[in-house]
């Protein structure tokens, strides 16, 4: 499954479990307007870490908060690529 499908499936699962109504999950959807509250995002990040094996927020040295769903998916995609790439430091 590609990252986009993994993330949208996880978002739908968290929303269903927390009883939240979601706006349509388009790339330009602003996360804060998606229908999920901050607890839902916290749950989402933890579940995704369990599923994909990393949490890009703690991997990154910069403080970065994605604004749209598209940003969020790219953030995970980028982290996945740097995870897969061998690094000299390792």
């Amino acid at each position: 499954m590609d990252m986009q499908s993994v993330i949208t499936a996880a978002i739908e699962a968290v929303a269903a479990e927390q009883g939240k109504t979601l706006r349509p999950l388009t790339d330009d959807l602003v996360l804060l307007e998606s229908g999920l509250d901050s607890l839902c995002f916290a749950i989402l990040v933890t579940r995704l870490e369990d599923e994909v094996g990393f949490d890009p927020f703690t991997l990154s040295d910069d403080v970065y908060f994605p604004v749209t769903l598209g940003d969020f998916i790219r953030f995970y995609d980028d982290a996945a690529r740097s995870q897969a790439a061998p690094t000299l430091a390792a």
């Binding site: 479990e17 607890l39 916290a42 933890t46 703690t58």
Partner: protein, 461 residues
């Protein structure tokens, strides 16, 4: 001689003889009569008089012997718990002004100015312990997970204050180590009341411990809820037939109380509140979790109040002070000890909700791991659980859980059965708890780590 002023050996010497009561360790048996009439210290007894003695033994039986030898003889006894780190020993010795160490077998360097006493074979006591008249101060170490252990001073009178010497002498058993407050209380009951006691042994399989308890005919058995949950997972537990089952040291939730009542029909299952600092507080025997709110206003030997959410206790059994270091005052101006155990009133009942230091902060909302564990443990398929924090970039922390289940699933449909059980447990949590307290991840574990003090090992990330 007044009850509280009597050193341990005096209790033993005055007890009825020839009743065969004994301290029982794996492969060893020492009768209370021998404990009264013989000494392993010989001429060293004179040299240890009036000293501040660190008791640092490998075995619990050796520690019990040392306590009987030293109570009334030494000025101060500092009882080293089994997991005292060697690197902490110098600070403990300096803080408590130690000038003698009683140890068995190998001993590391304790410094040139310290008397090292290693007991030898027991020989008849020369002088009927005429020298044992001092009001020895007892110092116990707390089992903090970080930093130096705190040294908590008790008078003998305070330590034995909750003991009724006229009670029928039973066969005591405990999962605790006697070098900690909970286990020491049981040892003192055995010595003062003339009962036998089956000592625990670190690393001994639960099945072997149960076999020893059964062989000795244990009547009174105590431990933490974590100890008991492990005992309930051990088939050999069916071989014991106790009259009294007691829990302390951790929150006894309804699930573990109910499980014990099912495992031991007709047996008095009680949970007690005690701590190294606060001493023995109270015991609840109605089979329900928590304690009656009326105890807070009761007039009696123990006064209790709730302040800033935590239980405060004042009694003649509370410790007198901290020894050494720059430790804060043990009690407030009115003599109440803050237990740091947070309580909550629900109807006519007070419930323990967790430790002040263990609170998980989920985006500014507090979660007590213990309250979530109590809900998870209510599921019939769950034996025990550990709820902990996992760091989270959005809310700072989030709640996750490790769960030990009652039975293993057959390989054929393990995955499906586990997924079903997980969903049931989480549904139970969602039906009972606000969203931020529901575990975000739930993992099944084969076992949970328990500290040497018998409590669930909590390491919040």
């Amino acid at each position: 001689m007044q009850h509280a002023a009597k050193p341990l050996r005096r209790w033993l010497l005055e007890a009825e003889r020839g009743r065969g009561r004994a301290l029982l360790a794996p492969g060893t048996r020492l009768t209370l009569d021998a404990l009264a009439d013989t000494t392993g210290l010989g001429a060293l007894r004179g040299a240890l008089a009036d000293r501040n003695v660190l008791v640092s033994t490998g075995s619990q039986l050796a520690a019990a012997e040392a306590l009987v030898e030293l109570d009334g003889l030494a000025r101060r006894i500092v009882l080293a718990p089994p997991d005292l780190k060697p690197t902490d020993i110098p600070a403990v010795m300096a803080g408590a002004g130690i000038d003698a160490v009683l140890c068995d077998g190998d001993h590391p360097g304790f410094g040139p100015d310290v008397l090292i006493a290693v007991p030898g074979p027991r020989v008849p006591l020369p002088d009927a312990a005429a020298a044992e008249v001092r009001d020895t101060e007892w110092v116990l170490l707390t089992s903090g997970t970080t930093g130096l252990p705190k040294m908590v001073a008790h008078s003998r009178a305070g330590l034995i204050g909750a003991i009724d010497p006229s009670a029928l002498a039973p066969v005591w058993g405990t999962f605790y180590d006697i070098r900690r407050y909970g286990g020491l209380q049981i040892l003192l009951r055995a010595l003062i009341g003339g009962g036998s006691m089956v000592l625990s042994q670190a690393g001994e399989p639960m099945a072997d411990h149960m076999a020893r308890l059964a062989a000795a005919g244990v009547t009174h058995l105590s431990g933490t809820p974590s100890h008991w949950r492990r005992a309930l997972m051990t088939p050999e537990t069916a071989s014991i037939d106790p009259r009294v089952v007691r829990l302390s040291g951790e929150i006894a939730d309804q699930a573990v109380l109910d499980s014990l009542r099912r495992a031991f029909p007709g047996v008095a299952v009680g949970h007690a509140y005690a701590s190294t600092e606060a001493g023995v507080g109270f015991e609840v025997t109605d089979g329900r979790e928590g304690f009656p709110a009326a105890l807070l206003d009761a007039d009696g030997a123990v006064a209790m109040k709730v302040e800033d959410g935590s239980l405060r206790i004042r009694s003649t059994r509370t410790a007198s002070r901290y020894v050494g270091g720059t430790a804060r005052a043990l009690a407030d101006r009115d003599g109440f000890v803050d237990t740091d155990d947070l309580v909550e009133r629900r109807g006519d009942r007070m419930h323990f909700v967790g430790r002040r230091s263990g609170v998980i902060n989920v985006g500014g909302l507090k979660v007590h791991p213990e309250e979530v564990e109590a809900v998870i443990n209510r599921h019939a398929g769950v034996r025990m659980s550990l709820v902990k924090a996992k760091s989270n970039p959005i809310t700072g922390a989030i709640v996750v859980a490790d769960v030990v289940i009652e039975r293993t699933f057959p390989d054929t449909d393990a995955a499906r059965a586990q997924a079903g059980l997980k969903a049931e447990i989480l549904d139970l949590c969602r039906a009972t708890l606000p969203a931020h307290k529901v575990p975000v991840l739930l993992r099944f574990a084969d076992a949970l780590a328990v500290t040497p003090a018998g409590k669930l090992a909590r390491h919040n990330a």
